[in-house]
């Protein structure tokens, strides 16, 4: 098996990445995908101590909402199980937002600041202290850094001839990324996911490219998409190293 991988980015920003990897086995591709979802840890609020809650929601409901707020995670500074403390104090009439959370660690901050936690009316007040803990998606979905992480086969589109002159052109829907005859990678969004838009009046054949996978990685903001991929690969590599060492003795 060829182990020299080729990676090519199609889309890339902080929270979103789409890239093609060549030379992968399906087992390895799936291992990376699963590791991104369940094995890369993120910080998330886990314990809440309420000082005052006179809002219309129960403590538990607010606790759940706080847990789902993504927090930026400095993965080099924390070990699984370590905690950071956050506090919130809002008095009505006002809405408590995720951005009102004050953190003890500058690196652990709400990744999004406009998530409404609870709307407070005149005389209502929410004051609490919360512990965020680093854990993995396997334990609870709130610790899952990757959102809608997946891959598809790269598909190659070859023009094999002209469509019959009087044939009805049926739409030929494809999703993901295609490789054209000129080895260009094209996002199917660019032609409305319909091959007849890109190759009008042509007959085309579509084949899977062996060993080439198009990954789409989106994160909730707790880590960057790039870091998520690298940490996922490392988590598999670390386990392999551990096994290698244990088998040797």
């Amino acid at each position: 098996m060829a182990s020299d991988f080729e990676v090519e980015f199609i889309e890339r920003d902080d929270r979103n990445a789409r890239f093609v990897v060549r030379g992968l086995t399906p087992a390895f591709a799936n291992g990376i995908r699963r590791a991104m979802i369940a094995d890369v840890p993120t910080m998330s609020i886990d314990t809440v101590r309420f000082v005052e809650n006179s809002s219309v929601m129960f403590d538990e409901m607010i606790g759940l909402r706080l847990g789902l707020v993504p927090l930026t995670t400095p993965l080099d500074d924390y070990e699984t199980g370590e905690t950071a403390t956050l506090a919130l104090d809002v008095e009505g009439p006002a809405t408590a937002y995720s951005g009102d959370l004050r953190s003890s660690d500058d690196l652990v901050q709400p990744a999004d600041e406009n998530i409404p936690i609870i709307e407070l009316k005149e005389g209502q007040r929410l004051e609490l202290e919360a512990d965020a803990v680093l854990d993995r998606g396997r334990e609870h979905a709130k610790h899952q850094g990757g959102v809608a992480v997946g891959y598809r086969h790269l598909q190659r589109v070859d023009v094999v001839g002209d469509a019959g002159e009087f044939d009805e052109q049926e739409s030929n829907i494809l999703r993901g990324v295609i490789e054209t005859e000129d080895d260009e990678l094209v996002l199917t969004d660019e032609f409305d996911n319909d091959l007849t838009e890109r190759y009008p009046g042509k007959e085309v054949e579509v084949h899977d490219v062996p060993g080439a996978f198009v990954f789409h990685v989106e994160t909730d903001g707790s880590v960057t998409a790039e870091e998520l991929v690298l940490r996922a690969a490392d988590s598999i590599g670390d386990r392999a190293a551990e096994l290698e060492e244990k088998v040797a003795v």
Binding site: S3, F5, E6, F19, P26, F28, A233, I236, A240
Partner: protein, 94 residues
């Protein structure tokens, strides 16, 4: 990761790898099948609700003079190389 050898002969091995799931076991199995001297490799894992053995059990059968434990070591080393290569390729593209 806790290893427990259940059965071991010159060319067969059954081993429990506690604390792992499909994420790692399937990658390992894939690497084992590409390792020289391995005739067969698989793993078995039961869901939590089954109530019985829920940790994955790796089964390896080798041919020639290959010790199955060495084969597992080789495959694990191969997985580590693969992840390192992947990291390098990804970082250079990024």
């Amino acid at each position: 990761m806790e290893l427990r050898v259940i059965e071991k002969t010159d060319d067969e091995l059954r081993m429990e790898i506690a604390g792992e799931d499909h994420t790692f076991m399937n990658v390992l199995k894939g690497a084992l099948l590409e390792t020289a001297g391995v005739a067969a490799a698989t793993y078995d894992m039961n869901p939590e609700q089954s109530g019985g053995q829920t940790e994955p059990i790796l089964s390896v059968k080798t041919e020639g003079d290959v010790d199955p434990l060495d084969a597992v070591g080789d495959a694990a080393g191969r997985v580590r190389e693969l992840t390192d290569d992947f990291r390098t390729a990804f970082e250079s593209a990024a």
